[in-house]
């Protein structure tokens, strides 16, 4: 009886898995089909013949420089992640460990913006970015997003959970705040920093709305913004569009496989703040 129940359980789980994963497999399979093959009805599951048509079309494409978009996205996401780690960890240290006038107020303001949907600031942020002459540059997709309160809040909670004894020992040895921060607290916070790094990278890599409206030049686009153009240019030429989608998926899927623990942990921890 228990084995029957177990069997049913696995059958249900596999069925659900199929719902989640089949579309992704279909994307990958279509990306290596020919145009004619992708149009077949009923559809052929496996590519016949196997073709690099879709990838050829996007790789040597001057109107839609997909590889350039890929590099832009990689640069933007990496720089953004670095910026978030540095600024958020320093601010979180001040808020978690230091006493100063205005601490409560600044923390309240920062946390308050967690409840504000970022889309409601998009118009003023555009005007501000324009005044800084950042529109249509890499900077505009790297910097403004780092104002998010999430990283500061996330790291502050983690720092508060670390016992102070080690830091106090370092102070007795004559360490100043910067040394305590970089040599004691940060090494102890590696898991949380890794969580935040992976989540920041994912968020920036996948960001769509902001890049679509602040980047214009074809050679400056990030991959998600560029994919929108690709859809417009290739309409129903699905192997080409799916090749672009695969290119945008591969880095994050690799990241997911390698750093799954950090993504799941990061999401769980962000939920526990509720």
């Amino acid at each position: 009886m228990t084995s029957l129940r177990q069997g049913v359980r696995y059958a249900v789980l596999l069925l659900i898995t199929a719902v989640f994963v089949t579309p992704l497999i279909w994307m990958a399979l279509t990306s290596v089909k020919t145009y004619a093959d992708a149009q077949q009805d009923p559809p052929s599951w496996l590519p016949h013949p196997f073709s690099t048509y879709g990838y050829d079309a996007i790789i040597n494409n001057t109107a839609n420089p997909v590889l350039r978009w890929f590099v832009n996205s990689l640069l933007a996401a990496s720089l953004h992640t670095l910026l978030v780690l540095i600024t958020a960890s320093m601010a979180a240290y001040a808020l978690a460990r230091l006493r100063f006038v205005g601490r409560k107020l600044s923390f309240a303001l920062i946390v308050g913006t967690l409840f504000l949907p970022p889309t409601s600031l998009i118009i003023p942020n555009f005007v501000i970015a324009e005044r800084l002459n950042w529109i249509d540059t890499l900077t505009v997709v790297v910097v403004p997003g780092a104002a998010s309160a999430f990283g500061v809040f996330f790291l502050r909670q983690f720092f508060l959970s670390i016992p102070r004894e080690l830091e106090e020992a370092a102070v007795l040895d004559g360490a100043n705040h910067w040394e305590v921060f970089t040599r004691v607290l940060l090494p102890l916070s590696k898991p949380a920093l890794a969580n935040l790094a992976v989540l920041s990278f994912l968020t920036n890599w996948n960001d769509f709305l902001w890049p679509v409206y602040v980047l214009f030049s074809p050679e400056r686009l990030t991959l998600p913004a560029g994919l929108g153009l690709l859809q417009g240019a290739y309409v129903t030429d699905y192997p080409v569009i799916m090749a672009g989608a695969v290119l945008a998926s591969v880095p994050v899927l690799i990241l997911f496989v390698v750093a799954q623990r950090h993504i799941i942990q990061g999401v769980s921890r962000s939920g526990l703040k509720g």
Partner: protein
């Protein structure tokens, strides 16, 4: 959330250990300016792109602010008035986008609260393969809206899409206009969103479920509670804070829907699936009427604030 903050605040307020005060300008262990130096890099970002835009947005909304014109006259509440007076040019478009957003939110939120809870309960007990299934359910979420938008535009294509073709194979109608007609466009947008994000909520539920003490279930079992009773009287009450978190964040996320509609239905049919966020950015950044778009943003943020407050009140009330 309040609990966590209180605990943190109480801790940092603890008096410094005796004998560490070193005189003027130097506190506990370091210079008075030190905390501000640690805070400064983030604070600059926060002030310029987090706090200033809130006030600046309100300021812009009080002006006739064309991004392409140097002159931006103050017009008081005219931009807001336009949104409420049925003879203004924007009235129809604005309220149609509010309607689209409301439809999407009302349809998607219940599914995004309930389906992930079901998945989390399926994965809660430890069994071989659990990590694999959790990863599989979560996988779509790591892809951006651009990827899933392109992918589902393809899968839902009335002629070439896998969905209609599979329906045809099993003998069901195979010509449903999934992305070009209502109500199908709503089914598509909601379905894709559930597929895309329910793994995220499931992971949050899982973390919440792990925090419910096993003894409570044991005690309930001893009292003769069946599995439904245990779900109602142990699981649900134990999950209440997590449920509130999921509900609040999901409402906000759904109300801010943009990419799915932009890429999958592309607003069709007509402009019926054009959402508020899309309307705001188009008005402000494509048609350059930043004043009106800012007024829409402020009004929209207020609407969401009201929803969130009602949400909190309802849950707190039930708790008493």
């Amino acid at each position: 959330m309040a609990d966590v903050i209180e605990v943190g605040a109480a801790r940092s307020d603890a008096p410094p250990p005796a004998g560490r005060l070193r005189g003027r300008g130097v506190t506990e262990r370091g210079h008075r300016a030190t905390p501000y130096l640690f805070l400064a890099p983030y604070l600059v970002l926060f002030l310029v792109f987090g706090l200033a835009p809130i006030l600046f947005g309100v300021w812009i909304s009080l002006h006739q602010w064309d991004l392409q014109l140097p002159n931006r006259p103050f017009i008081g509440l005219d931009n807001y008035q336009d949104l409420f007076s049925s003879d203004s040019a924007i009235y129809g478009d604005w309220w149609s986008s509010v309607r689209a957003t409301a439809i999407f939110t009302v349809l998607s939120v219940p599914l995004l609260v309930v389906v992930p809870l079901g998945l989390a309960l399926l994965l809660n007990r430890s069994f071989p393969g659990r990590t694999f299934f959790r990863a599989a359910f979560f996988a779509p979420y790591v892809l951006g809206v651009a990827v899933i938008g392109l992918l589902w535009r393809f899968l839902l294509d009335a002629n070439l899409g896998l969905v209609n073709r599979l329906l045809g194979v099993v003998g069901l109608p195979s010509d449903t206009p999934w992305v070009t007609d209502v109500p199908w466009a709503w089914v598509s947008l909601v379905g894709v969103t559930v597929w895309w994000t329910c793994g995220f909520n499931a992971v949050i539920y899982l973390a919440g479920l792990q925090d419910i003490p096993a003894e409570l279930y044991e005690a309930a079992k001893v009292d003769g509670a069946n599995s439904w009773d245990r779900f109602r009287h142990v699981t649900l009450p134990g999950l209440r804070p997590v449920l509130l978190f999921v509900l609040t964040t999901t409402i906000l996320a759904s109300a801010n829907v943009f990419g799915q509609a932009f890429l999958i239905t592309q607003g069709a049919p007509g402009e019926q699936t054009r959402t508020v966020v899309w309307r705001i950015v188009d008005e402000g950044l494509r048609d350059y009427d930043a004043g009106r778009a800012a007024a829409m943003s402020v009004l929209f943020a207020l609407m969401l604030a009201v929803v969130s407050i009602v949400n909190f009140r309802l849950f707190r009330y039930r708790e008493d």
